[in-house]
């Protein structure tokens, strides 16, 4: 079976005044159709950058050098024209972010923004049919007073409401791949859990594949089918979520697990900045 998203030996470096800085040292990752895959790691490990390469945002930066292969649905994204890659955004791929409220433009009501998203797949969509489709999309995320929400500005809605609006927008064009970059980190924990449950049910019913980027191990454990652990631009361990969490083999994964806060409290060990054991080759669970 071919994977929906297939990343092979992805390397990224930035050319700076002081020389070249390599950020990703050969990442390989694959996501099957409808599969939920998590990418976990600490800040600065290269999680978000990987997501942005998939979306083709990094490639447009000056000074960025990307090598390796990223293919979506059998298409090599490096080979297709920038125009074709651009056409994938918002239609075949979409993304949701950490802070839902700032991800919506403060000066437009929700309906206007929803219509722009829908117009990516259906150019020139009329206001009425945009309203209809937005209403049913909002129903899917358990927003039943769609008229009020669509007429509101983002700052008039709560964070959790905005998050659900974002999810509804991201899934409105039935993307094949949804990239969730630490979704809801800016929200409080209960709301975060609710929206994640909602999102999981939705992607399951639509058959959308998800690349879930997070540093929250608890959330990942709940959400993902498979997990990749990334450290300093390298994948150090991957496999089915249960296996990675149940039997972490790589030294870094173990250190990461040990640093999880527990209900029973107690001090947390600190992860050392660098440890030769962390640079050991990747562990793969079958």
């Amino acid at each position: 079976m071919t994977a929906l998203l297939d990343i092979r030996d992805l390397r990224l470096s930035f050319r700076l005044w002081s020389g070249t800085v390599e950020v990703l040292h050969g990442i390989s990752l694959s996501i099957a159709r409808g599969e939920r895959v998590a990418l976990v790691g600490e800040s600065g490990s290269g999680k978000s950058v990987t997501a942005r390469i998939v979306l083709g945002l990094i490639q447009e930066l000056r000074g960025a050098r990307v090598s390796g292969q990223v293919s979506l649905d059998g298409q090599d994204l490096a080979r297709v024209s920038p125009k074709a890659r651009h056409a994938l955004r918002g239609t075949d791929m979409s993304m949701i972010f950490q802070d839902p409220t700032s991800s919506l433009n403060p000066v437009f009501p929700i309906l206007t923004q929803f219509r722009e998203v829908l117009a990516r797949a259906t150019p020139g969509i009329s206001l009425d049919s945009a309203r209809d489709r937005a209403t049913s999309a909002l129903h899917e995320v358990a927003i039943y007073e769609a008229d009020r929400v669509l007429a509101s500005y983002p700052f008039q809605l709560s964070g959790g409401m905005n998050q659900r609006v974002m999810i509804a927008m991201a899934l409105a064009n039935r993307p094949k791949l949804l990239i969730a970059d630490e979704p809801g980190t800016a929200l409080d924990v209960t709301v975060q859990a609710q929206t994640l449950d909602l999102m999981r049910a939705l992607v399951a019913s639509h058959g959308t594949a998800v690349l879930f980027i997070s540093h929250n191990l608890g959330v990942v454990r709940e959400f993902a089918d498979r997990t990749y652990v990334i450290y300093r631009g390298r994948i150090v361990e991957h496999g089915p979520t249960a296996a990675v969490f149940g039997n972490p083999r790589h030294a870094y994964t173990r250190a990461l697990m040990a640093a999880q806060p527990r209900l029973t409290g107690g001090p947390l060990p600190e992860i050392t900045e660098r440890d030769p054991a962390f640079d050991a080759p990747a562990e793969v669970h079958s």
Partner: protein
């Protein structure tokens, strides 16, 4: 409308500004109706009534060739307002577009555009306008060109700074990720977030454009006689101070009223628009 009335009631000074500006606009628009001597806008000579102090038929007195000062001020407002409207209508779109490009596209665009802007801003505004007018003929049109040339960089810088901040906002990234074009992100996403600042500055600037235009014609580099212009009227009248004080005092007051009105509105807008985001 209700909301506007409410806001204005809470900002009495802004209301004063609105009233002053309306007064000026009405004076200019209805000059033909109000002016007691419409013909005096042009080259009319009436030596029977020259240098009359304010009073009687002549509300603000007459000038050295016997023209009614009040009538001439009404017509001079037309020139001033035309100046403000034309200059801002050209300078603002140019400045805003360049500011958006510099702020959003970054890189070479940013470097190139902002350095050009810096060059313009490093020359004292009046000196720049004077040198442009020194090369061109001093006419109304060239006056507009000169003032426009010194005006756009302020908008470029203003919008550039806001754009730099807005660019880091999530909604810009969200739009990019959804596949919005650069033009869409600049004009449909970022620009609406800059509008409060732009509108505020435009209102403040309307007064300053009138002031600068008057300064230029005070120096003899604006509108030429016999077309009435507030700046040149002050300049002519200054020669007869203090005996025929009304010749320069009334045009001066006319400038003051217009500039003061626009400034009050601008300050009010800054408070109103700045507060509720």
């Amino acid at each position: 409308m209700k909301r506007a009335a409410f806001i204005l009631a809470a900002n009495p000074l802004t209301l004063v500004g609105v009233m002053l500006v309306m007064l000026v606009v009405m004076a200019a628009a209805l000059a033909d109706v109000i002016a007691p001597f419409p013909a005096h806008r042009g080259a009319v000579v009436d030596f029977l009534n020259f240098n009359k102090p304010p009073g009687g038929d002549y509300l603000m007195g007459t000038d050295v060739v016997g023209r009614d000062l009040f009538s001439r001020i009404l017509y001079a407002y037309r020139i001033s307002l035309l100046m403000a409207v034309v200059v801002l209508a050209i300078a603002v779109p140019i400045g805003v577009t360049l500011g958006l490009m510099a702020g959003y596209l970054g890189g070479r665009w940013e470097y190139g555009l902002m350095r050009v802007t810096d060059v313009f801003l490093s020359i004292p505004p009046l000196v720049l306008a004077l040198s442009i007018l020194g090369v061109l003929k001093p006419t109304l049109l060239n006056g507009m060109i000169a003032i426009t040339a010194m005006w756009w960089p302020w908008y470029t810088r203003l919008v550039y700074n806001i754009t730099r901040g807005e660019k880091a906002e999530g909604y810009v990234l969200a739009a990019e990720v959804t596949g919005a074009s650069r033009a869409h992100v600049m004009f449909r996403e970022i620009l609406p977030n800059c509008l409060p600042a732009i509108v505020t500055k435009m209102t403040l600037d309307a007064g300053f454009v009138i002031l600068i235009a008057s300064s230029l014609s005070f120096l003899g580099l604006g509108v030429q006689a016999p077309t009435p212009d507030l700046g040149s009227m002050v300049a002519e009248g200054a020669r007869y101070l203090p005996d025929q004080w009304w010749l320069s005092v009334f045009p001066g007051l006319a400038i003051l009223v217009a500039v003061f009105g626009f400034n009050l509105i601008g300050d009010g807008l800054r408070d109103i628009l700045g507060g509720d985001r």
